[in-house]
Amino acid sequence: MLEINNLHVKLENEDKQILKGLSLTVEPGSVHAIMGPNGSGKSTLSYVLSGRDGYEVTEGTATLDGEDLLDAEPEDRAARGLFLAFQYPVEIPGVGNMTFLRTALNAQRKARGEAEISSGDFLKLVRAKAKDLKIDAEMLKRPVNVGFSGGEKKRNEILQMAMLEPKMCILDETDSGLDVDAMKLVSDGVNALRAPDRAFLVITHYQRLLDHIKPDVVHIMAAGRIIKSGGPELALEVEKNGYADILAEVEA
């Protein structure tokens, strides 16, 4: 589904190389986790895949279902089924959460040549999905993320994911700033979306989240590359011994 090949990325305005030959293949229906120390380029990877400005791809490719991803506008990537759950969801005063959700959903439907959803169907849909994530009507009415707690913001990200039904979901440190209960809610939301034609790339610092969202493959990322891949046991190893052992092992 997602295929990244020898990806090299630098900052646009700085002579700083961040990704240095990253390769990764995510199959439909699977959950891949990326772990790695601070500064290894995990967030950059999520931004480059979703099309944020400020990065320059100097080498390599990334495709979604065989089609190039890197030259597409962010909205086109979204319409093709890519979704990034932000580490820091932004607050947008003046734009209502409901307006935002409906605009986004209809924009994607339109881009795919589908009819717009009626207001009635939309309301039913959003209420049902919000209920599962314990997002109340008051939160839906507020401007996007304004006055939301850290946990509420993350739940709102998962709500968007549930509404938009993307096929490739990237979760960028979704566990950061979550207490145990919120982590359970968010994980349940993600697990409910697991499907044979949908894949997840879960970026995290801690093994904790992976207790709830069980990965098929765990990758360790350092200095802009995947340095080791393995099963879920790799995450446990990191939790126990830190990254130092793995880094040393790879360098040796």
């Binding site: 979703s50 099309g51 944020r52 400005d53 506008e73 962010p74 909205e75 990537r77 979204a78 319409a79 979704f83 990034l84 932000f86 969801p89 932004v90 947008i92 005063p93 003046g94 734009v95 307006t99 935002f100 605009t103 986004a104 959903l105 924009a107 994607q108 881009a111 401007p143 996007v144 968007q160 938009l164």
Partner: protein, 437 residues
């Protein structure tokens, strides 16, 4: 430091200004009218002579050049085709009063009556009229502490306008519609509204008015009375104009005024509001959008004279392709006005690097137990906001539109009538759809 040598150039300058003002006033002819009105017009003319016409050296005219608001030659402005726009306030039941090029059009207007409201118009005001105690009086009072000679000139020269006295709670809005036909007409309108204690009115103004316009509104808002005022300026590109708003709010009274400006070459909106009785409120808001030669100026003065009053100023401008926005806003809190709650916000959204926003927020406070805040910012659309919306599939154009409307939302919140607010929102959206590139 004032030496005789330093004083004399100033004195000479004042003499020169008085002379040129006097020469300008010589060329004017006062409109006909009943004796009381003629008397008040002459008094206003004398005020102009004394104040002298404004120029760029005046503190409150340093950001906006008044010359084109005064000059004898009124440059023609192409008439915007009304059919290009859906009519305003569709579906809102209202009493319509139509002016064409600044002259009342009785045939196009609704009958001048309604329950709880007494309406006449200036060009047909009779010898005895309640407005004789009010016409020009708030304008005259509003010449201090900041001189507003163009408002006095309006009082002197206004050919028409409405005179509205409200005695009850009127639910049907009075809607003033200013059409224009001639390419080069000037319209000078002076409206007077008097709300008796406990009365309530919604006053709407819309339309392109004229190639050059001056509109003055004097509003006396009695105890516990409420005036909702919403005005929109038409879209004709070359249009120039000034509005002067004077409102005196009594005990427990409420004055809300919202202005929407789109396009136009030069627009100056002045407001002077006095809160004279305990517990009075004034909310002034403005949304302006323009590009190219657009120059838009909001100059607002709110005087808190009584304790426990509240005031809000919320002004936002969206500027592009070289447009200029000006905000000069002041909250004056007199010594008696303890427990004042004053809020002032002026912001502009610069859509490109050629635009300019000039802001002068001022607070002058003589009471010691008050809450006053003011903020002024200018900036561009946040790239983080843009990316967030686009990452969810919203197109770049739609994302921009949503964010510009979001930026202006706080001004629209100041409109109490949700139907009217929605009408404004649609209008803003249409403008943006046409101008987003």
């Amino acid at each position: 430091m004032n030496t005789a040598a330093a004083k004399s150039p100033r004195a000479a300058r004042r003499e020169a200004r008085q002379a040129s003002t006097a020469a300008f006033l010589e060329t004017l002819t006062l409109p006909d009218g009943p004796a009381w009105l003629t008397g008040l017009r002459k008094e206003a003319l004398a005020r102009v002579a004394d104040l002298t016409l404004p120029d760029r050296r005046d503190e409150y005219w340093s950001y906006t050049n008044p010359d084109r608001l005064i000059a004898h030659d009124i440059r023609p402005a192409e008439v915007f085709k009304i059919t290009d726009e859906p009519p305003m306030y569709q579906g809102i039941d209202r009493l319509k009063l139509v002016f064409v090029d600044g002259v009342f059009d009785a045939d196009a207007s609704d009958p001048l009556d309604g329950e709880g409201v007494e309406i006449s118009h200036l060009s047909e005001a009779g010898d005895i009229h309640w407005a004789k105690d009010l016409y020009g009086s708030l304008e005259a009072a509003g010449q201090k502490p900041v001189a507003r000679p163009l408002a006095a000139l309006n009082t002197a020269l206004a050919k028409d306008g409405v005179l509205i006295r409200v005695t009850g709670k009127v639910s049907r809005p009075v809607s003033l519609i200013y059409y224009r036909e001639a390419e080069d007409a000037e319209a000078v309108l002076h409206n007077v509204v008097k709300l008796e204690p406990g009365a309530e009115l919604t006053l709407l103004e819309n339309g392109p008015v004229a190639a050059r316009s001056s509109i003055c509104l004097e509003a006396e808002i009695g105890e516990d009375a409420v005036l909702h005022h919403v005005r929109t300026m038409g879209r004709d590109h070359e249009r120039k104009g000034i509005t002067n708003l004077f409102a005196r709010v009594g005990k427990g009274g409420l004055f809300k005024s919202f202005s929407l400006s789109m396009n136009g070459r030069l627009m100056r909106n002045e407001a002077m509001v006095w809160l004279t009785g305990e517990g009075g409120s004034a909310h002034l808001a403005g949304a302006a959008m323009g590009d190219g030669t657009f120059h838009h100026d909001d100059t607002v003065f709110i005087a808190h004279e009584a304790p426990g009053c509240e005031s809000r100023q919320v002004y936002k401008k969206v500027l592009r392709d070289g447009a200029v926005g000006v905000f000069q806003g002041k909250i004056l809190v007199e010594q008696a006005a303890q427990l004042t709650d004053g809020y002032q916000l002026s912001q502009s959204l610069l859509m490109d690097e050629n635009c300019q926003f000039l802001a002068k927020p001022e607070l002058e406070i003589y009471a010691d137990n008050v809450k006053c805040s003011h903020g002024s910012t200018s900036g561009e659309i946040s790239p983080d906001h843009m990316f967030y919306l686009r990452s969810r599939g919203v197109s770049e154009e739609e994302a921009k539109l949503l964010l510009v409307l979001a930026f202006l939302a706080e001004t629209l919140d100041e409109i109490s009538n949700e139907h009217i607010a929605e009408d404004m929102r649609l209008r803003l959206r249409r403008w943006l759809e046409k101008h987003t590139h």
